[in-house]
């Protein structure tokens, strides 16, 4: 018989848990009790429902039909009054019962009602559910004045709504700053002025003493003697986790129901999620963390058991149309913190970023919140911002703007930036959905990605991404989780591969309970890379887990032909090589011979079956694969240098060739490009390469973390050295550090922005020992890596894969 799961609390966290559980198609008989007489609706949207911007029907997330479709028994309008843990039974106020094997509590929270005299008068309400909203709408139709107690998120949204409904609204706030949980006083002032301009009145630093009236409320008295008349009082002074039921059943509670990292209460059969829980001492009041809890609870209920909830950092947006406000983390900061502040009063823009040793601790944005998600992401990843600190304030668009014009902010927002904090949807997810599914409207994006489907705070961003996306086509690293096959992040997986000594893909799948039998096209190449870069000797490279370009060592073209790019060491060639290339081009009727941007020659449009023979010819002339197709060392560009150039200070060509000879054949997290310029005129463009050398009179400047391409980034100066030997040692050490620590498909530029130049310096400059061991590890793995794939694959035993396994034609076989 199926196990029985009972959910108490038919709200956002509880039902999301059920949805996650269904996704994992776990086998439960599910029963749901909800005190409210509906399906599950989007509580967040009660604010726009109050303003009249949306309706109850429009904010329904799960209709009764949905429960029926999934064979879920729904008891709506029934409040559970007792849990009998001995007999594993819940009992509702109407006497109906349900037995459980596992119980899920998601009872949310209750608005806190100030216990002042008169708090129980008619017309004194909270702002929590549909019933409250209906009461407000009703009051707006029959009365004039409303007072909202509490100038926080909820209170201001209530005030805004009541005003839109035509009431005269005053907001009473205990301190002198609105939303003091989210805003510093300056942003708070700006918000207050804005709302005043819209007609909301404020009574600041007022503490409520008494609510007066006979049956219905008539007014409020304050401690300092002030008085106001009103026909409606909305209490929005905070929420209290709803733990009454759990407590009565003897389940351990403090402020909330105390749960562990798998969302279990002290009774392991009883799970709890949502606002009613207290996890590691914190109670949450926003949906993002609740949705994370839901994932974990579902994962554990489905007996997968690898999900863990480790707490959340939250960011908030006020959902008052026309007011643009973002806040995250510690926006005051302590004595060790620095604050970068930007003010443009006439434009009504205020930005404040709080930094602690170059990492973002918190941020407040008013009037321009476009970069909120980016700051939030930098904050959560603990990224070192020193590299772009001076442009930080102007947003991601300005850190190395590749000139995408008006849309550049969303365009340049990296694909792993979280856009929809509620549902954890990244820009990449949205862009992918828009592209692969040809989406054109906000609603389509909502439906496919869930982005902006919860609080809608990111709607503006999603719309801009939508506008900016149609037409683009580029792939970037996905953030945690690695892909749909697992919940582990890139970093966790690689860590496991190292610490658990996993040397094969099957070992990874087993150890980390992959959901799919053999991964997917996004995780397999990554895993293959992590395996061979962590265990160069032990792990076997898996061609079937490589993209076709790396499998057949050429770039596939849209017409199924391939490109062949032989290495030209340091961009230097010889008449003999050129002759061999010319011969090959003619012999195999190559439609286009092109000089690439990487200082070598591309033979474009080669038929697959011709590849091995062509490679053999090129090998014979002493040429090897240029890996123009690989997540590997691509080119080492050079300029003329001191051999001939009148300005040259060092032999850039010679050094470039040495660098390429040392590093060719190595696999990297993303493609890797180098260049050597013979003097600061820098004709080899070394300062937009992953590793660039600029020769100077006294030696060499070593530049790292640059690239051209989609988002140009100029390198950071890593060090100055004196000899070629040092250049080679630093080059190898840097490349090895990058290979070992960057995420798959993370190029040096985003990697350095994530970990910080100072970190890289600490590993390579300050720690000489470490530099030498990195250098040694690199050379060691090169002993295995440095064999020319063309030579290998043109051997007869490999040639087969380039030709059909069988050719049939009508002469042999009558055609059917």
């Amino acid at each position: 018989m199926k196990e029985r799961l009972v959910l108490v609390g038919n709200g956002m966290a509880g039902v999301r848990t059920i949805e996650e559980l269904l996704k994992l198609d776990a086998d439960y008989d599910i029963t749901v009790f909800g005190a409210e007489p509906y399906g599950n609706y989007n509580r967040i949207m009660l604010s726009p429902m109050l303003t009249g911007e949306t309706t109850l029907d429009a904010i329904m997330l799960n209709t009764p039909e949905w429960y029926a479709e999934h064979d879920i028994t729904l008891h709506s309008g029934k409040k559970v009054v007792r849990i009998d843990r001995k007999n594993r039974l819940v009992i509702a106020d109407d006497g109906s019962e349900a037995e459980y094997d596992r119980l899920l509590l998601a009872t949310g929270s209750n608005p806190f009602i100030l216990p002042v005299p008169g708090h129980d008068l008619e017309g004194v309400i909270g702002f929590r559910d549909v019933k409250d909203v209906e009461a407000m709408i009703d009051a707006a139709q029959n009365h004039q004045r409303a007072v909202v107690i509490g100038g926080g998120l909820l209170g201001l949204e209530a005030a805004n709504g009541l005003m839109k409904r035509g009431m005269r609204v005053s907001v009473v706030h205990i301190s002198d700053t609105l939303m003091d949980q989210q805003l510093d006083s300056e942003a708070g002032q700006m918000l207050q002025r804005e709302l005043q301009a819209r007609g909301v009145e404020f009574l600041m630093q007022a503490s409520t003493q008494e609510i007066v009236g006979k049956e219905r409320v008539e007014g409020i008295k304050f401690a300092d003697g002030r008085e106001v008349q009103t026909d409606l009082v909305v209490m929005a002074v905070g929420i209290r986790p709803n733990i009454e039921l759990a407590q009565s059943a003897g389940i351990h509670c403090e402020r909330g129901i105390v749960v562990n990292d798998t969302m279990q209460s002290f009774d392991p059969r009883v799970y709890a999620v949502g606002e009613c829980v207290q996890h590691r001492g914190t109670c949450y009041g926003l949906v993002a963390p609740l949705f994370e809890m839901a994932k974990v609870a579902a994962n554990h209920l489905a007996k997968l058991g690898y999900g863990r909830y480790e707490g959340s950092v939250t960011s908030t947006k006020l959902k008052v149309t026309g007011i643009d406000l973002f806040s995250a983390g510690d926006f005051h900061g302590d004595d060790e913190c620095e604050r970068i502040i930007y003010r443009d009063p006439s434009k009504g823009v205020y930005k404040k970023i709080v930094l602690k040793d170059n990492r973002i601790e918190g941020a407040v944005l008013y009037g321009a919140t476009m970069d909120g998600p980016w700051y939030f992401q930098l904050m959560r990843e603990g990224s070192d911002v020193s590299a772009f600190r001076d442009t930080l304030m102007f947003g991601q668009g300005d850190t190395a703007d590749a000139g995408h014009g008006a849309n550049h902010t969303v365009m340049n927002m990296s694909d792993d930036t979280e856009v929809c904090g509620c549902n954890g949807v990244t820009k990449g997810d949205i862009v992918r959905a828009i592209q692969t599914e040809g989406l054109f409207t906000l609603d389509e994006v909502k439906a496919h990605t869930k982005a902006s489907a919860s609080c809608g705070g990111c709607t503006g961003l999603v719309e801009q991404i939508l506008a900016a996306t149609v037409g683009t086509d580029h792939s970037h690293p996905k953030v945690k989780p690695m892909c749909g096959c697992t919940d582990h992040s890139h970093d966790q997986v690689r860590e496991a591969i190292r610490s658990e000594q996993l040397t094969s893909m099957d070992a990874v799948f087993k150890k980390l309970d992959w959901r799919t039998p053999n991964g997917c096209p996004s995780c397999r190449p990554a895993l293959n890379y992590y395996l061979i870069s962590s265990w160069p000797k032990e792990a076997q490279d898996d061609p079937q887990s490589r993209f076709i370009n790396e499998r057949v060592h050429g770039n596939i073209q849209k017409d199924r032909s391939y490109t062949v790019v032989p290495r030209m060491w340091g961009g230097v060639t010889t008449p003999a090589e050129l002759r061999a290339i010319a011969d090959a081009a003619e012999k195999y009727q190559v439609p286009m011979v092109k000089v690439t941007g990487g200082q070598r020659i591309d033979l474009v449009g080669v038929k697959k079956e011709d590849l091995p023979a062509m490679w053999k010819d090129l090998n014979a002339a002493g040429m090897v694969s240029g890996h123009a197709y690989g997540k590997a060392l691509r080119t080492v560009k050079t300029c003329i240098g001191s051999q001939y150039c009148r300005f040259g200070t060092q032999d850039s060509v010679g050094l470039g060739i040495k660098l390429e000879k040392m590093t060719w054949g190595s696999w990297t997290a993303h493609k890797y490009k180098m260049a050597v310029s013979g003097c600061p005129r820098n004709c080899a463009e070394a300062t937009i390469k992953d590793f660039g050398v600029v020769a100077i009179d006294s030696g060499y400047e070593l530049h790292v973390g640059g690239n051209g391409g989609i988002k140009v980034r100029v390198t950071d100066l890593l060090a100055k050295v004196e000899t070629e030997e040092e250049v080679l040692e630093y080059a190898a050490a840097f490349m090895q550090l990058y290979r070992e620590e960057a995420r798959y498909l993370e190029r040096t530029a985003p990697w350095i922005e994530r970990v910080g130049l100072n970190y890289v310096k600490s590993r390579i400059i300050d720690d000489m020992e470490n530099r030498k061991t990195l250098h040694a590890r690199f050379l060691e793995s090169q002993q295995i890596a440095q064999n020319d794939p063309w030579n290998e694959l043109s051997k007869d035993e490999h040639r087969l894969q380039f030709v059909p396994m069988k050719t049939l034609n009508s002469e042999e076989k009558p055609h059917v």
């Binding site: 039998p517 061609p543 059909p804 069988k806 076989k813």
Partner: protein, 102 residues
Amino acid sequence: MSNWTEVGQLNDIPRLGSRVVDNNGEEIAIFRTSEDQVFALRNRCPHKNGPLSEGMVHGNKVACPLHNWNIDLTSGEVVAPDKGCVRRHEVKLEGETVLLAI
């Protein structure tokens, strides 16, 4: 019913890989899964004619090398949210021998 034609040995095809059969100029891709099942599809992605034989095989699906559409090997249907379908061919194993119906 069309007749079974021998097109090669199972080991001619790498696990989680594919080889093509040239049938009078029309390519048919034969796929081999991790469980050593074989499937045959016309070697043209319904999106933009990408060569499915060059794609990555995972589970009972293959991902097209050009724009990463996924095609279900068992049915030839494109995996949602993308839409489309590829012509399937009957294929079977007799011992190690791969037989294709054409």
